[in-house]
């Protein structure tokens, strides 16, 4: 028993008991585990990850509408008739967005170009290490559609009627492979930042009639299309695309089926440098045997790009 003569000891023991109880209570209110942040970005157990990565796809298809093509720089070379420079003007240009477009977005989408590309896995590169430049590189083949024409005038008519159509072949390097893999694997969200470079051959034929300096040049034929031929138009493209895409079907349980899962809507933007050598056979003052050429170089930006992606394997 504690006596009155021992108040300090009594207080001390009492304090110890209270502290012990308080301490125990504190221990009970500590979180059972650390804040659950380490569960963030855990894998959903009900989610069925795609069996194939985008980079592992043997083939997928892109259809992109390139809106608002803005040409920062367009360098037009002179017309050349059988290799001799001629001072025909105005020189052709790619379509540019005019500052006086109509209010709201009505006409902002009228100057679109487009492309229809198939992206192929290059199995030959599969064995390369991740540090190799050609790792994660794919082959792009398809059609590039852009618009080139000389401004309307009474002297020079020179244009791809209904736009240029160019058989294109490029190499495509994914610049964000980790992010692409991560988002496609976890969410089937398509994120892609790539760089592309390649060449093309013109399938569309330049339509032209030029009356200038006493010369009358008329196209030898007015076909819409032509077979690829170095004399009839070719060029090169270097581009970088940034795109985000979502599949049309969000349901990815193991039971879900359907074609919509193979289709994704994509939105993005593109920097592009393009060189175009256009050429066509013409008659000069009624005489055949003349070849008219013109060189163009442009640096452009397009955005937004609205795209459709068809993925073969899920």
């Amino acid at each position: 028993m504690l006596s009155i003569s021992q108040p300090a000891r009594a207080i001390a023991v009492g304090t110890l008991c209270l502290i012990a109880i308080h301490h125990q209570a504190q221990a009970q209110t500590l979180p059972a585990a650390a804040p659950a942040t380490d569960r963030i970005l855990a894998q959903d157990l009900n989610y069925v990850a795609p069996g194939h990565e985008l980079s592992e796809q043997l083939f997928f298809f892109n259809w992109d509408i390139l809106m608002n093509p803005i040409y920062f720089s367009q360098i037009s070379g002179p017309f050349r008739l059988n290799g001799v420079a001629k001072d025909y003007s105005p020189r052709p240009k790619f379509y540019a967005l005019v500052p006086g477009q109509n209010p709201l977005i009505g006409s902002a989408i009228t100057d679109e170009a487009g492309c229809y590309y198939a992206s192929w896995r290059i199995c030959f590169f599969d064995h390369l290490s991740k540090k190799n430049f050609f790792h994660n590189m794919r082959l792009i083949t398809g059609i590039t559609h852009d618009k080139l024409e000389a401004p309307a005038s009474g002297t020079v008519f020179y244009k791809y009627t209904n736009g240029g159509t160019e058989l294109t072949c490029m190499l495509d390097k994914n610049l964000s492979p980790s992010l692409t893999h991560f988002n496609y694997d976890r969410l089937r969200l398509i994120f892609n930042w790539n760089a592309q470079a390649g060449v093309f051959a013109a399938l569309a034929k330049i339509q032209d009639t030029i009356r200038s300096g006493g010369d009358t040049l008329i196209a030898a034929n007015d076909n819409r299309f032509q077979l690829p031929d170095p004399r009839s138009g070719w060029g090169a493209i270097v581009a970088s695309n940034l795109e985000v895409g979502v599949p049309l079907s969000f349901n990815y349980s193991s039971q879900s089926k359907g074609f919509l899962r193979h289709i994704a809507l994509v939105i993005g933007c593109r920097f592009m440098a393009e060189y175009l050598h256009s050429g066509t056979d013409v008659t000069k003052n009624g005489l055949p045997g003349y070849h008219l050429t013109q060189n163009m170089f442009t640096f452009a930006f397009c955005g937004p790009i609205l795209g459709l992606k068809i993925i073969s394997k899920l």
Binding site: Q26, L41, A42, G100, N183, F250
Partner: protein
Amino acid sequence: MRKASIMLVSSLLVFRAFAQQPTGKTITDSIKDKQISDSANNVSLYKYRKYSFSLAIAPYTSVTRGGGNSLFGATEVSFSDRFKWLNSTKNASLEVNMGFSFVPYQGTKLNLGFDWLMIRNKSHRTNLYGGLQFAEGLKQSTNTQDTTYVTLGYHSYLTPFVGFIWWPWKAKYQSDKYERDFKALAPEQAHANENFYNPHIPQLFYIKLQIGYSILLNDRVTVDTTGGFSDVNLYRTIRNNTASCLVFRFCIGINIPSLHDREDQERLKFTRSLRAN
């Protein structure tokens, strides 16, 4: 001596007990829940919503140079990156935006700016933000007919803005208080927490509504014509609209989750190897 020892031990235990109370405040379950929720929401902000890509329509009307009679619409494409190291106050989140806008009568602009997301309550689906954007309008020469050109010179803008961001399908996280008490979460909340940890594509979409005032920084913007340009109305419209403007912005975007650090990457590799086995 014995009394001194007892007092010393008592004092040490008192300090030990007090040390578990930050700033002298009693930690209750609700405070711990809030800390856990805030921590989880904060981390998720920099993982689920690290990058974003957006498309916007920006109606604007010029205020100076006699404008203001018409409403025009620009199209904008933006890419944003949210930097954790810029979150010095821990109560907001700063993201850097870069992009392009295509503006009638002003041509193409390069945009670079930042916005400061107020995330006082991190679980909210709607947050207020404010920011500042610099825009450089590029020189643009446009052919109207024949050899007639109208050329708009370089022009720069500074735009302070405020707005709301809304994640309509964002999962609201609730801390695991009930788990700690060995009680089951309500099925709806358990589902919400599961969605929080494993967001699907719909939960990444967001909508922004914004208003700003775009201040023209140039004293004088050149609008030149060549080749017998005669469209006086177009010239005047370009001239009047290259001015300080009131700009609205309706934006839809999607967040792009990111592997935030090396630890995440290692964990992902580990998970993948488990799955492969």
